[in-house]
């Protein structure tokens, strides 16, 4: 199946957001037994997770362009 690159990237972004929602929410439930405390920290944890993943993406892209392209 040949999908346009933009559509494929969009699908991957949606899938990433879906799994991020699960990981962050369960992580918050794990660390906060009280529902009100979990609700309070969720936005910050989600933001931190997304920013952390974005930084990782940038690092991987830099590595790919710097090293993998040499061959």
């Amino acid at each position: 199946m040949n999908e346009p690159a933009t559509t494929d990237a969009f699908v991957h972004l949606i899938l990433f957001l879906a799994i991020s929602l699960g990981i962050v929410t369960m992580g918050v439930f794990y660390s906060e037994a009280d529902d009100a405390a979990a609700r309070a920290v969720w936005p910050k944890r989600m933001f931190t997770f997304l920013v952390g993943c974005a930084v990782l993406v940038v690092v991987m892209l830099v590595c790919e362009h710097t090293f993998a392209a040499l061959g």
Partner: protein, 299 residues
């Protein structure tokens, strides 16, 4: 003596960690060590009965699902059977990875393999029960934090509902079953086969009931073409199962805190720590660092 300390007194000086480890090696041994003969018998019969029913149905061929290059002594440790370590080692010793010759799978291979895996999960629950049993004054209390763990494996969120945490239970169910369903759609059902994806299946199996039902209904689908998002589907199914372990730890921790009168688990932020440091009087909410340590209590 505080209420928490009183509740942590161990039965006859027995060590909770030893009880759990004994159960890992031989189901029921931890309960026997604690002097609970009937519990030991029930745990042994249930866990080993399931394992050996699974072995019989699968003719001990479960680990032959592994690709030849993965067949090492430690490879099965990442399968659910590792929860019943004694059973798994017995299987490895007597059946190993087969004769190396190609042969057809037994008729009830999938069911047999699932039963052995279920035995591993049940023994992990039995380990939690033995660990709790060693610390409670009344043996009947030991089931209070452990039953929700089992229910969470049967259906994600059910343990939370049992504890009266309805909103959290519904969110857990929607998130985890939703992730698993999305993964199964993306992988077009190819994730529902232990033969095809041994390790992804192992993670997914921790989701419990929904994964087992889906496999029973759609596990025999044939793959006849390339599946564009199969990797994403496998990851989603596996991550859903692994996240259910967090849900099981959550319900156990909540039940344990209620049982022993401990404060609920709470992660302090930097600002909270700073505020607590500035305050002249102790915070109203007890912190996790206030928890009595098992070693301190038993010493």
């Amino acid at each position: 003596m505080s209420a928490a300390t009183h509740n942590l007194q161990q039965a006859g000086g027995a060590n909770a960690g030893v009880a759990a480890v004994l159960t890992w090696f031989l189901p029921g041994a931890g309960h026997l060590y604690l002097g609970r003969g009937l519990h030991a018998l029930v745990v042994f019969a249930l866990v080993e009965g399931l394992y050996f029913a699974g072995l019989r149905l699968s003719a001990g061929m479960t680990f032959e699902f592994l690709d030849a290059e993965l067949r090492t002594a430690v490879a099965p440790l990442l399968s659910p059977e590792a929860g019943n370590l004694g059973g798994m080692l017995w299987q490895l010793k007597n059946f190993g990875f087969g004769t190396g010759q190609m042969r057809p799978w037994p008729e009830h291979m999938v069911l047999g393999s699932a039963l052995s895996a279920t035995s591993g999960v049940l023994n992990a629950v039995a380990m939690a029960h033995a660990h709790t049993l060693a610390r409670v004054a009344a043996p009947a209390d030991a089931a209070r934090p452990v039953l929700p763990v089992l229910l969470t494996w049967v259906c994600p969120g059910l343990g939370h509902l049992r504890q009266g945490r309805t909103a959290r239970g519904l969110i857990v169910f929607a998130l985890l079953v939703g992730l698993f369903a999305l993964g199964s759609v993306l992988a077009e059902g190819s994730n529902l086969s232990r033969e095809r994806h041994f390790y992804y299946w192992a993670g997914q199996f921790l989701l419990g009931g929904p994964a087992l039902i889906a496999e029973a209904l759609f596990g025999s689908m044939r793959v006849t073409r390339d599946i564009p998002y199969v990797e994403a589907g496998l990851v989603f199914g596996c991550v859903a199962g692994l996240l259910n372990v967090l849900a099981m730890i959550d319900v156990y921790g909540y039940g344990e805190a209620k049982l022993f009168g401990w404060p609920l688990k709470h992660h302090e932020s930097k600002s909270e720590r700073a505020a607590a440091g500035d305050a002249a009087s102790p915070s109203e909410t007890p912190k996790s660092t206030d928890l009595p340590k098992l070693g301190e209590i038993s010493a």
